[in-house]
Symmetry: C2
Subunit: 400 residues, 2 copies
């Protein structure tokens, strides 16, 4: 009789966004005429850039012709043309990453979860709270001990390390999901120094880097000295280029990164990861990789940049409305997320219900991201421009 | 200091096919003019059917227009249009699977590996030997005990259960990779009865089902009574429709399948799997799903069927050549693989080197698939027709 992995039974029954979808579906079933505006799940709404679509179609055509057909990738870690394009993108903001240290995947979420495979289950994992639920859930699924660094109003939702706390793996996300807060270069240096002192490995999620506007906020942890000896970075085209439905991302594992095995030998993290991928992954669809590479072309960057500016304008609309009704928030400046304090000391889910029922606006309850999220609420700037304006009008009317 | 998952250090350093690629690369570097024919890795060579390419391009176009743009899938388990197409495909060979029991993924290899997540690491895993290395490696990575059922010349490489052996999880693959052997309906019934008696779960890999030609060989384990209470099936479009570079497959987890938790409660395997996918997966690229659905259309089936017949003809060429020089083999009839006994009592790698050096033909050493593979060798029928004829001429010349 097989045993189930009972760690699953200790988790919340559903992934956060599935719970939200259920609540919204129940509401729309009861109110079929309600004009719902969705600012909950961090999903984009602008279409894929034309030159990216064309690159995918060209890739598809190649698959239909024997001479240009592509089967399995030799490495399963991405075609060189795409790895080099990603390396060039890093270079455009001053970060040197060898193409060989880049692994192409089907989105940052997959590797954020899969990375647990290669570390021992006895590791203590430090996660800033609130956090993207994937970090916590995937570690709990493996039976690991998870401890938290509090991100809260006092530290502007940018938790810093506590020298008295020991840990082995650290999850950081900047610009942060859900709070929209960012780490400056100096703050990241403190984390890196802490990681090195504790021989810890940082798993750095930079999925929202394309939204950074300020000079002293790094687009990559590898912009900070010493990171290559202690960090793995995960990024994605989901938010950079609207790839949430296209599915392509990348993980950087520096070849410098090693971990000591119990026999004292130095083990290459990149090599162990390669062994994992060799057995559980077979690479990303070729036409998707063609599309991804086109994102990093001059024309692709120009077109996708326009989409990001569109969302940044939405963020300003949301921020202005909140300013107008005197609601506190973080984010919005270097991030597509606005993290607001629920008015009148309401709880997160209470505010969720209020917004859904009275304004027909869907947001994400902060409590779904951890204990420090209680009383806070996430809105995303990824919506349609007119709908965002409309949503904020409704919210202003409701809360003024 | 993080610990590494030291189970990785006990594995062979590289995935089998990476080792083969390295050997071949070294040979071609030393002999740049050698005209290598690759019959090693089970990769297809025929292009994707035209109607499938067109469906992907249509999907790509939809991504470029705001009104038809697709972001995250709500469920992440596949669009209904594709699940229903897969359900219809099952129906075409007489198997009833509700669309909701089908999970769309980026290929059978991923889920064959990922499925380990949801079961306890104390399970005893029974794998037929020789086997596709993914079953063994991913269980060893999780620290599980793996025991083997011997497939060998005496049982025509179709291992049957031993009533004296107890296990919790069973991996079966029919048509088999690497041996090309198949289980008849009666043989599968014996496995199902054994699994039920032991309360074991069968993980059934049907990736090569499209190559089945004989009536009494089921295309799915669910064609056999009782399977829905004890089996999970994994299949892929890689071999059915040349999707090795497109990346799309499906896993069937019957809603009937439950496992008892330590507190005595019945746990739905499908629900636990959903929780895993919710945290570690975000669905398959929309245009890839459009392409996959087109495979199951009338025109798609016709076009992909022609490719399978092309490979089946190659299998007949390989078989005829081996018959001519008096080499024993299994497979080739319901399978794209021909599993041959190395001549003159040669070892698998010895024969690999001989074929590479003297005939410039790459095959796969049987020893790479487990102890019962030693002395055996796999050739694939997935090559180009003329090249397959040429390879067999070279082999005949070498071994006659």
């Amino acid at each position: 009789m097989p045993t189930i992995n009972e760690n699953f039974l200790k988790l919340e029954k559903n992934y956060l966004f599935i719970n939200i979808a259920k609540k919204v579906n129940a509401f729309t079933a009861a109110h079929p005429d309600a004009d719902i505006i969705r600012m909950g799940i961090g999903d984009v709404t602008q279409p894929i850039a034309k030159c990216v679509v064309e690159a995918m179609k060209k890739g598809a055509d190649e698959m239909g012709v024997k001479e240009t057909f592509k089967g399995y990738e030799d490495s399963g870690t991405g075609y060189d043309f795409l790895k080099e394009a990603v390396a060039g993108y890093y270079k455009s903001f001053g970060v040197d990453i060898p193409a060989d240290d880049i692994r192409i995947n089907d989105g940052a979420k997959s590797d954020c979860g899969n990375i647990v495979d290669i570390f021992g289950n006895d590791n203590v994992v430090l996660i800033t709270d609130p956090a993207y639920p994937v970090y916590v859930d995937t570690n709990l699924m493996s039976g690991r001990t998870v401890i938290y660094a509090d991100s809260n109003e006092e530290n502007s939702f940018a938790a810093m390390p506590d020298e008295n706390v020991k840990c082995d793996l650290i999850y950081l996300c900047s610009p942060n999901n859900p709070t929209g807060s960012v780490y400056t270069k100096d703050q990241l240096k403190v984390w890196i120094d802490y990681a090195k002192k504790n021989n810890a490995v940082i798993i750095y999620d930079s999925a929202y880097e394309a939204f950074i506007t300020e000079e002293n906020v790094p687009r990559s942890i590898f912009a900070v000295e010493g990171a290559k000896e202690c960090a793995i970075e995960m990024c994605s085209l989901s938010k950079t280029a609207g790839f949430t439905g296209m599915r392509c991302g990348y993980t950087v594992i520096p070849h410098e990164l090693t971990v000591k095995a119990s026999d004292g030998s130095e083990v290459s993290v990149s090599q162990i990861w390669g062994r994992r991928e060799g057995s559980k992954f077979n690479g990303v669809s070729y036409p998707v990789q063609c599309a991804a590479a086109a994102v990093f072309s001059e024309e692709g960057m120009k077109q996708t940049r326009a989409n990001i500016e569109y969302y940044q304008q939405n963020a300003r609309v949301i921020a202005a409305a909140l300013d107008e009704i005197g609601i506190k928030y973080t984010g919005g400046k270097n991030s597509p997320y606005i993290w607001l304090k629920c008015p009148n000391d309401m709880g997160s889910w209470e505010f969720f219900d209020l917004l859904l029922e009275k304004a027909n606006v869907v947001g994400t309850p902060g409590a779904g991201f951890g204990k420090n999220g209680e009383g806070w609420f996430r809105l995303t700037a990824f919506g349609d421009k007119d709908r965002t304006v409309e949503a904020m009008e409704r919210i202003k009317k409701l809360l003024k």
